[in-house]
Amino acid sequence: MAGTLSFAPDDRCNAFITTCDAAPYGDGKLSGVAVAVKDNISTCGIQTTCGSRILAGYVPPYDAHVVSLLRGEGAAIVGKTNMDEFGMGTTTETSGYGPTLNPVDQTRVPGGSSGGSAAAVAAGLVPMALGTDTGGSIRCPAAFCGIVGLKPTYGRVSRYGLVAYANSLEQIGPMARSVGEVSRLMEVISSYDSRDSTSFDRPYTHQPSADIESLRIGLPQEYFGEGVDPRVAETVRSAIGRLEDLGAETVPCAIPSMAYALAAYYVICTSEASSNLARFDGVRYGPPAPTQKQWHEAFQEVRGEHFGKEVRRRIMLGTFALSAGYYGKYYGKAQVARRNVRQDFERVLGEVDVIAGPTMPTVAFRLGEKSDPLSMYLSDILTVPANLAGVPAISVPCGTVDGLPVGLQLIGRHFAEEQIIDAAYAYEQEGSA
């Protein structure tokens, strides 16, 4: 151990669920750097709640692979950040520990579900943080809070120790104020881990370069169409114009399978979640189940009481989608739609190097604005396709609308993080000037 970092943030946005006032650190590439970790990533000895009351007091006896890597490079884990309960939300309002506020405008949400990590970085409490992205949970809050966030290729970062919400979709990824910092953090967390059978030995070791001469950028019509705030679309178009000035070419393209992406996404993630969350029964984690009752009654009571409304809704949706007689109609169909999305992306990315569009269809919502779950689900439309296709995607700040940040989303080929990081870096270094 090289030292201890004292950490006493002025957390007026409620970015943290847990903070470590004296965080030990070691030597290495991130020696002494304060890193915030989303609260669904297991940290040995530090409470890990996933933003849920059902995991209050749960202290993992082991580190997630990414946390071991951070510690191994000397980082100081200074706290666990707030999030939508189990990642189920786009605003961080479904947290069991109160909503996180957007540091840019405290009447607004920071986005979600990694809202705490984004707010902690945007408020300057930490230089970098880890988030997780199941359907946009890194990119959305990065866009809403005006920072950079990367969702890696599915399988490039080990999920070992990430408390699963939707295993087949989610990835841990870096969030920071600059592309360079995101790249630095990505290098540390992408080291191979054989404990995650879905991961690949494709470590990221790249120095960002602003040279994007003759980069081919695809502009899918679906990313600029119905449901997208025209002012957001315009801001993003002009950012892409700056990339053209820097030597990139743009090509119009189409991703027709996007029509089914959102439905497929919600069937898959709720199905997997219904299974993943079944283990939280009040026996081994969280508030204890009443022992004078029969076991099945006691655990039903615990689950009814300590899971939030959105989590209960998604567990029920997923349970229904997997039930006998409906499997083929929902889960089976969703897998077909998912394959189609993947094929569309592979086809388009055979013709262009990266796909560009807005990260979110709008700027940050006001707190409480998305009270209707369906309208909240619809706001994931531009981020969900990259998770279905398993391709990497980054959100980089590209201007404001009404003083609120807008994110430019760049989507790349499988294991081509380097290319989208270079494009984002070029925009950040030269474009926004």
Binding site: S42, T48, P60
Partner: protein, 474 residues
């Protein structure tokens, strides 16, 4: 009334580590929850990593049972709530099992060869174990031991091809032997084999009997169930609704389950944390050892022993290996004494053959072959020897027992004098013998044997007694 039986057999594969983590599987002598890690405890965030050895063992079984191995198989989640299941789902295989459509040869009730079809065999993880404190239904609380959680299981499902509880037991015996020959299973470990059975009387609905947790329990449970179902038919109340019953090992009966408990919708879906498994090509690389049927045939040919003895000796790998170590003394003598005497004596003492040093038993066979002791004395020596092994001491050498107990075939003893005394003392028996009652001779021989403490050969004694009576005046 034809009986129709199909079995679902769960066997623990004896890999060194668990199916999805590197915890040791050797937990039986250790305190609860000492063979656990985040993976087999189902801690949030832990991920399964497939044990290649378990797949290899599964493929060995598939090959030995002549099964087809599809190009790709897949793990799936079986979702249900039970306190011994730490993730609230079991990782198993559902619509893409490791292997399908095989056969195992057994002998039917008439001793004819018969092929039993195997539907499928797939890999899955064992749940933990509940310990109810306070006993049975009145337990005040239950404790969970996760040492067993994640032990690799192979679930083998048969077609409904078995026609009697005895046939079902023979099937299991042959299956167990096959698995032990393959080196993938140790049937001596407690709880290493668990069976669910589907049983019906032809023309009526079937009953599933769950919770049969031993090899011997299967015949018992099924015999009970056949009688129960036949009686229901006789009383005009046959089984018409599919039912699940639990076997109560202690009482030897099956009891109805509360039907609600069994109405599961397991919501199977592919396990997203594991990639599909491609085993194409792997099967060809697997080399099988000699299996029970082949060994049985070889024993008959190589050692010239009877088919029946060969069958008995090859029915258990340890016995077959034991026999091969002692056969050189005299194969037929060794086969006879192992199959007809030793196994019975072991069974009577609930001893495993592993407790008997082959050299000791070979020593006993040598004493017999050299005519140093009689058959009767040999049985006594064997019993004394086994008792010494069972007591946990070093096994006593047969020669030492013979020496100590003075059991060597008598030489220099005046048998004629003893015989004369016995004849003189049992005039009624002598008269009966003369009247043609063969049994009377055996009685007289027995009397002489008692006097000589078994040290003379009964056949020779018989001749001596008969000759003596003939020369004695009636």
């Amino acid at each position: 009334m034809t009986v129709i039986i199909g079995l679902e057999i769960h066997v623990q594969l004896n890999t060194a580590t668990k199916l999805f983590c590197s915890c040791s599987t050797d937990y039986r002598d250790d305190p609860p929850n000492t063979h656990c890690c985040p993976v087999c405890l189902g801690l949030p965030g832990a991920l399964p990593r497939l044990n290649r050895k378990a797949v290899e063992y599964g493929l060995k079984v598939a090959k030995a049972l002549n099964m087809e191995v599809p190009e790709e198989s897949e793990f799936a989640r079986k979702n249900y709530f039970y306190p011994d299941l730490p993730k609230a789902f079991q990782i198993t295989q559902y619509d893409k099992p490791l292997s399908i459509r095989g056969v195992l040869e057994i002998e039917d009730d008439e001793g004819h060869e018969k092929l039993v079809r195997i539907t499928r065999a797939h890999l899955e993880e064992d749940p933990g174990r509940l310990v109810h404190k306070g006993g049975g239904d009145r337990a005040r609380y239950s404790l969970v031991d996760y040492n067993r959680s994640g032990i690799p299981l192979l679930e083998i499902v048969t077609e409904p091809d078995l026609r009697s509880p005895q046939e079902a037991r023979r099937f299991l015996g042959r299956l167990r032997a096959t698995l032990e020959y393959l080196g993938v299973f140790d049937g001596d470990k407690e709880g290493s084999l668990r069976v669910d059975a589907n049983i019906s009387i032809k023309g009526y609905e079937r009953v599933e009997v769950k919770n049969i947790s031993s090899y011997k329990g299967v015949e018992k449970a099924l015999t009970f169930e056949v009688t129960r179902q036949r009686n229901l038919i006789r009383r005009g109340q046959p089984v018409t609704v599919r039912e699940t019953r639990h076997f109560q090992e202690g009482r030897g009966v099956t009891t109805a389950s509360r039907s609600k408990e069994e109405e599961h919708d397991y919501r199977y879906f592919p396990e997203p944390d594991l990639r599909p498994l491609s085993v194409a090509g792997w099967v060809e690389e697997i080399e099988l050892p000699e299996l029970p049927v082949a060994r049985k045939n070889r024993f008959v040919e190589q050692y010239g022993i009877s088919l029946n003895h060969a069958r008995t000796l090859t029915g258990d790998l340890k016995i077959a290996e034991f026999f091969e170590k002692i056969a050189s003394v005299d194969p037929v003598l060794a086969a006879t004494w192992t199959a007809d005497t030793l196994l019975g004596e072991l069974n009577y003492r609930s001893m495993s053959i592993a407790a008997v040093p082959p050299g000791h038993f070979a020593g006993l066979l040598k004493l017999l072959k050299e005519d140093t002791i009689t058959d009767k004395a040999a049985v006594q020596v064997l019993r004394t020897m086994l008792d010494s092994c069972a007591a946990g001491n070093e096994c006593e050498q047969p020669a030492a027992i013979v020496e100590r107990e003075g059991l060597a075939r008598a030489t220099g003893v005046d048998f004629a004098a003893i015989v004369r005394t016995v004849i003189a003392g049992n005039p009624q028996a002598v008269e009966d013998y003369r009247a043609g009652k063969k049994g009377a001779l055996n009685f007289l021989v027995g009397q002489v044997m008692r006097e000589t403490r078994g040290r003379a050969d009964p056949r020779e004694l018989g001749e001596l007694v008969a000759a003596c009576i003939e020369t004695t005046e009636g």
